[in-house]
């Protein structure tokens, strides 16, 4: 089922929760809403699942306006898995069979058994659903949502707060929904790795608005808005104006100037403020300056050093702080300790430029 959303808005008690949402959920694809808590993800999913009414705007299911379709029959083609699994006060079997019984389907026992196997809870039929752990409840809720084979599945933060085993099972199932069953999946998350692995289409939400949208591959490799880059945890984020000197283009960050490869002709030099990011792993660390083709080289002191697995994260203050990642062995070879002076070297082309106010650009992108 294709879902189209046009100029959708939702306000509650005078507070705007969603504002001018435009999007198209493609059939048999995984769409993902990313954003912090309070961005409106849950409300948007509930509206798409007809659990809440939009305050304004239009909703189309397979090109038909939602008011023209029988609500119950439309509802029965979709399902929403809530962030916190809600169990009915009865057995696991009755919980899982709930949707099947509502639809008066046949072969309930067999279907329930099969779907419980899928979520790794075989033989739990007679257990009281309220006695389950959080992870088990979420898996039962997933089983309950999938057992009647809906066309569209909305998942609200499906792996939020789950123990590792449940998380793995839930993720595996989402993967199966995507690849094997070819379901239309819409999920919301603030877990970027989940979005990166599963989503075809990504929407970044901020305060009820879509600030960036596009193909997942493109967005994750080069976000085009400061906000989504920030949300993705990209550390070396800079904002400043471009300036031209001796035939080269620089990003002026007041304290230092970073040479950039100026390719984007949309950006006007000296006029537009731009944002830029630099991946920590694209920065070379050395104890002495060295000659190379890289256009940027700055000296600074190590202010912070933290080990994470086999990697070491450094913060180097070169007037502005840079986050740098290197391997533990490199750190030992260079004998790096906090307070030591080092040189950072990176190419002009490693600096990814983004127009600062791409919030609006993202909206118009499609």
């Amino acid at each position: 089922m294709r879902i189209k959303v046009e100029k959708l808005g939702k306000s509650f008690d005078g507070k705007v929760i969603l504002d001018n949402i435009n999007l198209e959920i493609q059939e048999k694809r995984v769409s993902c809403f990313i954003g912090p808590n309070g961005a409106g993800k849950t409300t948007l999913l509930k509206i798409l699942n007809l659990l809440e009414k939009p305050s304004q705007g239009n909703l189309y299911y397979d090109n038909k306006h939602y008011t023209e379709i029988d609500r119950l029959s439309l509802q029965r083609r979709m399902v929403l898995l809530a962030q916190e699994a809600v169990m009915f006060n009865t057995s696991v079997f009755n919980n899982v069979a709930y949707g099947l019984k509502a639809r008066k389907r046949k072969g309930v026992k067999k279907k329930v058994k099969r779907v419980l196997e899928m979520v790794g809870l075989s033989g739990m039929e007679t257990r009281s659903a309220l006695s389950l752990s959080g992870g088990e409840s979420q898996r039962v809720a997933l089983a309950r949502a999938l057992v009647f084979d809906p066309e569209v599945i909305f998942l609200d933060e499906p792996t939020h707060n789950l123990d590792p085993i449940s998380k793995r099972i839930v993720e595996e199932l989402i993967f199966q929904l995507k690849s094997q069953f070819q379901k239309t999946v819409v999920l919301s998350t603030h877990d970027l790795s989940l979005a990166e692995r599963f989503a075809h289409q990504v929407y970044f939400l901020k305060k009820g608005r879509i600030v960036e949208k596009g193909e997942a591959g493109r967005i994750f490799s080069s976000p085009s808005s400061f906000y989504s880059a920030q949300f993705m945890g990209i550390t070396n984020l800079f904002q400043g104006k471009l300036l031209r000197e001796n035939g080269a283009t620089f990003l002026n960050l007041e304290k230092i100037k970073i040479e950039v490869a100026y390719l984007n002709q949309d950006l006007e030099i000296q006029k537009d403020r731009v944002s830029a990011f630099l991946r920590p792993e694209e920065i070379l660390v050395s104890r002495k300056p060295f000659l190379s083709s890289a256009r940027n080289c700055f000296q600074g002191g190590i202010t912070r050093m933290e080990e994470r697995g086999g990697l070491v994260e450094l913060t180097v203050d070169c007037g502005i702080p840079f986050a740098v990642v290197l391997t533990k062995r490199s750190k030992e070879d260079l004998n790096l300790t906090p307070g030591k002076k080092v040189y950072l070297t990176f190419k002009a082309s490693a600096v990814h430029l983004m127009p600062e106010n791409s919030d609006i650009k993202g909206e118009e992108g499609e």
Partner: protein
């Protein structure tokens, strides 16, 4: 084996030794009060469901009226029912005054606000998220209502038990509309009141013990239900 038979024999002897009058009084008490709870549920349960599910103008006013009706003295209800049923009253032609049906009617009025108020609280205790879960799983309205009642079953049963305990223990109101006629409208409470006044304490004490036992026995499932509901 002989021991068991002996016991059963003793039990039969005891039962038959029980005054038939006492048995009739106890049975009538149950019949009247159970009927009252039944009829008031027919009104109260759909009404509380409506109040729990629908937002409509005046809803809050109705809820506060129902809650204030909880405070109404039972004997006042008895008086109102009496005035309705008395021969010169608007329903006098039906001739129900001083019949068990009059008692059922009065007790029904007494139970309606109790059941409505308590089951409203019970149904409101069913979280919005439970309702949304039912809807997203594809239920229609009757199925949704069934789910609501099932989810609230423990506090709902507790509401019915509370109402039953309240009406079976009611004296003044039942006396006013029933008349405490021997063999016809005499129930446990009115019999106790009468026998005590007459100074015939044996029957009063037997009935009093039975009444206390009933209330005691009722409170056990009530405690269990309230415990189960809180899980």
């Amino acid at each position: 084996m002989t021991y068991l038979i002996e016991n059963i024999h003793q039990l039969i002897e005891f039962t038959s030794s029980l005054d038939k009058e006492v048995l009739d009084i106890v049975l009538l008490s149950f019949r009247v009060s159970l009927s009252a709870v039944f009829f008031s549920s027919l009104i109260s349960l759909p009404f509380s469901l409506l109040l729990a599910l629908k937002e409509f103008p005046g809803r809050r006013v109705i809820i506060s009226i129902v809650n204030s009706l909880l405070m109404i003295p039972a004997v006042a209800i008895g008086l109102i029912v009496y005035l309705l049923l008395t021969r010169r009253g608007p329903l006098g032609a039906v001739g129900l005054l001083y019949t068990p049906w009059a008692m059922v009617g009065a007790q029904t009025f007494l139970a309606i606000p109790i059941i409505t108020s308590l089951s409203l609280a019970a149904l409101q205790g069913v979280k919005r998220s439970v309702r949304e879960t039912a809807v997203t799983l594809g239920v229609n309205l009757p199925q949704l209502i069934m789910t609501m009642f099932k989810e609230a079953r423990y506090p709902l049963m507790a509401a019915l038990i509370m109402a039953f305990a309240r009406v079976i223990g009611e004296t003044g109101m039942t006396m006013v509309v029933g008349g405490n006629i021997r063999g016809s409208t005499r129930v446990m409470t009115t019999a106790i009141a009468l026998e005590t006044m007459k100074g015939r304490f044996e029957l009063a004490i037997i009935l009093g013990i039975i009444l206390l036992l009933i209330c005691g026995l009722i409170s056990i499932p009530l405690q269990l239900l309230q415990g189960a509901g809180r899980k």
